[in-house]
């Protein structure tokens, strides 16, 4: 591989590149789905290729191919330079990456049990047992249980002298129960919605989920939701469980702090950001309790790695400090605009995609409350768990989320179950209303394996650490 990388770098330079990096990526994926008591889909995929990123005539070019041969490396490196020259026809100035980033190293995700060494029979048996435990509950219509494993081998070399090898391993799993009644459908998921929760790590991640043990509860809740009352509209105090808060952080803090969005380079797709450059260091993002960091070193986080795809080492960077907006997610090129060094967030969705700024693990630091005390301290509220629906405007201000399940809180006690609960608000006002966050015992890192961004589309795997938190006087139960 190193020979091919050196060849690609040399070819790019011979054709006129002033900077080049070559990234070879090999991925192995295993997905297993059991549905209604039967293995529905089991597939193993292998994918490999390389991408060449260059600067020539002061502009970017990128080309990629699945064929790992010397001839193809030559062709693609030359193509990348030709594309950069075409880019240079419509440029304002030369790309400035700032000082060289020269790193030589390796990184391996800490793994206790290699998920690809666990027999398929064991995995299928686990899913069938979880599925069976859900289907035992009367009233359940559709059940689904799934596992997903990913191993990524990456080698990155650059004309600045960087040479990095990484092996990243992810394990994910989850169960879903769908209950169908007259004019109503309700779903419950565990540990997270959209099929699974996912972490970096080995099969121990799956063992820790206890999918079988949680299956009856999930199925019973789905059935109970059919008859539960609709969440009434109004202004209420809400407590968001960690799984829902993870997506709130993702949409309302993670995306708006991506500096490429702020600088306009995502305008044609996902949009821009309300966190404009003038706000850094002065804008009150939330209450004093709110401290949010981007931490690519969080153990088990789905956004945990050794180096980003520009070869910058993983870092922990503050975004919001005690309510004050203090920093962005950056790349080499964008950090230069702020006079900073990159905080290492450039990642690509495979060999055939250009690295772009992605969330790492965007974590809300824990507070001091226990969940029991927080509920007891809430006179009139709603406890909301597990995301069902999400939407936010293109500057990340107006949002509306729906959750799978909610419970009313009256007089400090959890009361009746509510279905179809939604809440809506504007990002800074919402985070300003945060007056309590649960402690580290309630804090965990959640995986979001479906973060879409970029053109052509890229899907990133990112993490969010969160503990349940309370928000005062939030609009809930949007009516139609």
């Amino acid at each position: 591989m190193k020979t091919l990388i050196e060849r690609g770098l040399n070819t790019a330079q011979v054709h006129g590149a002033t900077y080049a990096d070559v990234r070879i990526v090999h991925t192995r994926t295993e997905d297993i789905t059991v549905k209604n008591g039967r293995p529905e889909a089991i597939s193993q995929r292998e994918d490999q290729g390389f991408g060449v990123r260059v600067i020539a005539d002061g502009a970017w070019g990128f080309a990629a191919s699945a064929m790992l041969t010397a001839g193809e490396v030559d062709r693609v490196a030359a193509q990348a330079v030709a594309i950069a020259r075409a880019s240079a026809r419509v440029k304002a100035g030369d790309v400035d990456l700032g000082p060289p980033e020269v790193h030589v190293g390796t990184y391996h995700t800490p793994v206790q049990v290699d998920p690809f060494a666990v027999p398929l029979e064991t995995k299928i048996a686990l899913l069938l047992a979880a599925d069976e435990a859900m289907r035992h509950v009367p009233g359940i219509g559709v059940t689904e249980a799934s596992l997903s494993f990913l191993r990524t081998l990456k080698v990155l070399g650059s004309t600045e002298g960087t040479l990095i090898e990484q092996e990243l391993v992810e394990s994910g799993g989850g169960i879903e129960a769908l209950a169908v009644g007259p004019g109503e459908v309700q779903k419950r998921s565990y540990p997270n919605s959209f099929g699974r929760d996912q972490r970096t790590g080995g099969y121990e991640v799956i063992t820790d989920m206890d999918l079988v043990g949680n299956a009856p509860r999930i199925a019973e809740e789905a059935v109970q939701l059919l008859a539960a009352p609709q969440c009434p509209p109004g202004e209420r105090d809400i407590i968001l469980a960690g799984d829902q808060l993870a997506l709130q952080i993702h949409e309302s803090c993670g995306h708006p702090t991506e500096l490429d969005r702020v600088l306009g380079t995502e305008a044609s797709y996902a949009g821009t950001s309300f966190l404009t450059l003038d706000k850094m260091g002065t804008f009150r993002y939330g209450s004093d309790l709110v401290t949010i960091v981007a931490d690519a070193t969080t153990p088990g986080g789905l956004g945990t790695f050794g180096y980003d795809d520009e070869g910058v080492p993983a870092q922990r960077a503050p975004l919001v400090q005690n309510g004050l907006f203090v920093g962005y997610l950056t790349s080499r090129e964008t950090a230069r605009r702020l006079g900073q060094r990159s905080n290492g967030t450039m990642r690509a969705d495979g060999w055939n995609r250009l690295p772009i700024i992605r969330m790492t693990n965007i974590n809300l630091e824990p507070g001091e409350w226990t969940l029991a005390d927080l509920i007891a301290d809430t006179e009139d509220g709603i406890y909301m768990q597990t995301n069902k629906s999400w939407s936010i405007d293109d500057r990340r201000l107006n949002f509306q989320f729906g959750v799978e399940i909610a419970w009313e809180i009256q007089g400090g006690k959890l009361g009746r179950m509510l279905k179809n609960a939604t809440y809506t608000g504007l990002t800074p006002q919402f985070w300003a209303s945060c007056d309590a966050i649960c402690n580290r015992e309630h804090w965990q890192v959640w995986g979001t394996p479906n973060c879409g961004k970029g053109q052509p589309g890229q899907v990133a795997h990112v993490g969010h650490g969160a503990a349940p938190a309370r928000f005062r006087r939030v609009r809930v139960g949007v009516t139609v």
Binding site: I42, Q48, M67, I83, Q400
Partner: protein, 447 residues
């Protein structure tokens, strides 16, 4: 691009390596390029060449799937062995209907050499024009211009052989000022048929006209939805309920209602993978030819789409040619959605509206309740208040939360033109504009 002969050789090699009772080979190739621009300059310019080979084997009703993007002999042998190993581990799936038998595949020409041969310089030229149009007006241009040539190949041990080469070209642009934005999109098989400059002018015009937006109260408004906004709503409606899997699982609004009038009698919606005015795809990922499926015919719910699995569950039903690749669990999906045009121009819709909102497009639409067809999302890139039959002023963006079937039951007019729009990830739509009597906006944002 492999070409039909090389594709047939690879498929034959895989089929020859498999001792399974039934074997299917799905090959997808792509030579794709995209030029992306922002702040009126090109900031990303990429190209890729890729081939994936997916193998599905069946040992009786034990089914295994594996894929690779390598084409060497060892890799093809490995992918067959992996699929066989998976199949042997699994209990039989009584719902597996067997691989489809061969059927005549209609020929639709969807490959345009000019699109396949598009150069980075050509895309840069078109992008440069759009950027110039924006800069001349003191605006900022962003967008993406993609072109590519692709092949879809399906072969199986029962004799299916289906090969379809096709091209795609797609341009999107957002033009912005400090407090406004405008949008345009063009999609085509033939890049030379795309008027990219007209797209630039459309987005520039919208960005200029939406400057200095005012706040208005959320609530119920009559709306004129441009084709972009309609495409978004109908694509989500299809995802929520137009597949047999959704019906069979009890989560589709179509379930138990075929033959009933579910929407306004002016509304007809169908899927047709053979219509050359869409982005045609004559067969699905199982090699089954696509049939035209009517979802709503003059308001009446008529049918849903099937793959071989879902068809097998209903006696007498056959696949309509809407299977996704083996291993995808979402069930059948539409690929070319059409809505019948009406007889009204957008200008006539405007003149007939006393008070309402003009919506260019929606952003970040998502499902709130699939059975009740409730969606939420934001307006974006040009929202205007209509008063007395004219655009009165631009307004700040609003959040809608709306039952789509209710909206389609309140159709005041349908546009007489339709617009072809490629979906971001899969398929295409050809939709007209709509005027809806009452559309619910549940919130507002600050810009």
């Amino acid at each position: 691009m492999l070409g039909p002969e090389r594709a047939k050789t690879i498929a034959g090699q895989v089929l020859g390596l498999s001792p399974a009772d039934e074997t299917e080979v799905l090959i997808q190739t792509g030579d794709a390029a995209l030029t992306r621009f922002a702040n009126s300059v090109i900031h990303q310019n990429v190209a890729e060449a890729n081939v994936t080979v997916q193998v599905r084997v069946a040992l009786g009703q034990q089914v295994g799937v594996a894929s690779t993007n390598r084409l060497d002999d060892a890799a093809l042998r490995d992918v067959v062995d992996t699929a066989l190993r998976i199949a042997r581990l699994l209990p039989p799936n009584p719902e597996f209907p067997g691989l489809p038998a061969p059927q005549p595949i209609p020929t639709v020409n969807a490959f345009v050499p000019a699109t396949a041969a598009t150069t980075p310089a050509y895309r840069a030229g078109a992008v440069g024009t759009i950027c110039r149009l924006a800069v001349e007006q003191g605006l900022v241009a962003s967008g993406a211009f993609s072109t590519g040539a692709y092949e879809l190949v399906v072969a199986n041990s029962r004799g299916v052989w289906a090969y379809h080469p096709y091209t795609r070209a797609n341009l999107v642009t957002v033009i912005m000022s400090d407090d406004s934005s405008g949008w345009a999109q063009r999609s085509a098989l033939d890049v030379s048929a795309m008027d990219t400059e007209a797209a630039g002018r459309e987005a520039v015009d919208k960005a200029l006209r939406s400057r200095h937006p005012v706040t208005i109260e959320p609530g119920a408004y009559t709306v004129i939805l441009e084709e972009y906004a309609v495409a978004d709503l109908i694509a989500y409606l299809a995802y929520m309920g137009f597949s047999a899997q959704a019906v069979q699982e009890g989560r589709s609004f179509m379930g138990g209602h075929l033959g009933e009038a579910l929407v306004d009698a002016q509304v007809s919606i169908w899927d047709d993978g053979l219509d050359p005015t869409g982005l045609p795809l004559p067969f699905d990922f199982e090699g089954v030819p696509k049939r035209r499926v009517e979802f709503f015919e003059r308001g009446v719910a008529r049918g849903v789409i099937y793959d071989s699995y879902t068809a097998h569950k209903e006696p007498g039903q056959v696949s309509t040619g809407h299977a996704m690749p083996a291993g995808v669990t979402w069930g059948p999906q539409p690929s070319n959605l059409f809505m019948a045009p009406g007889s009204t121009s957008k200008e006539e819709m405007l003149r007939s509206t006393q008070r309402g909102l003009w919506v260019t497009r929606f952003h970040y639409t998502n499902i709130v309740h699939p059975l009740k067809t409730i969606l939420t999302g934001m307006t974006r890139d040009g929202t205007f208040l209509i008063e007395d039959g004219e655009i009165a002023r631009p307004v700040k963006n609003l959040r809608f939360t709306q039952n789509v079937l209710e909206a389609l039951n309140d159709v005041a007019a349908i546009g007489r033109e339709t617009m072809l729009l490629a979906d971001e990830y899969w398929g295409a739509t050809r939709m007209p504009a709509l005027k809806i009597g009452r559309f619910w906006f549940s919130g507002a944002t600050e810009f």
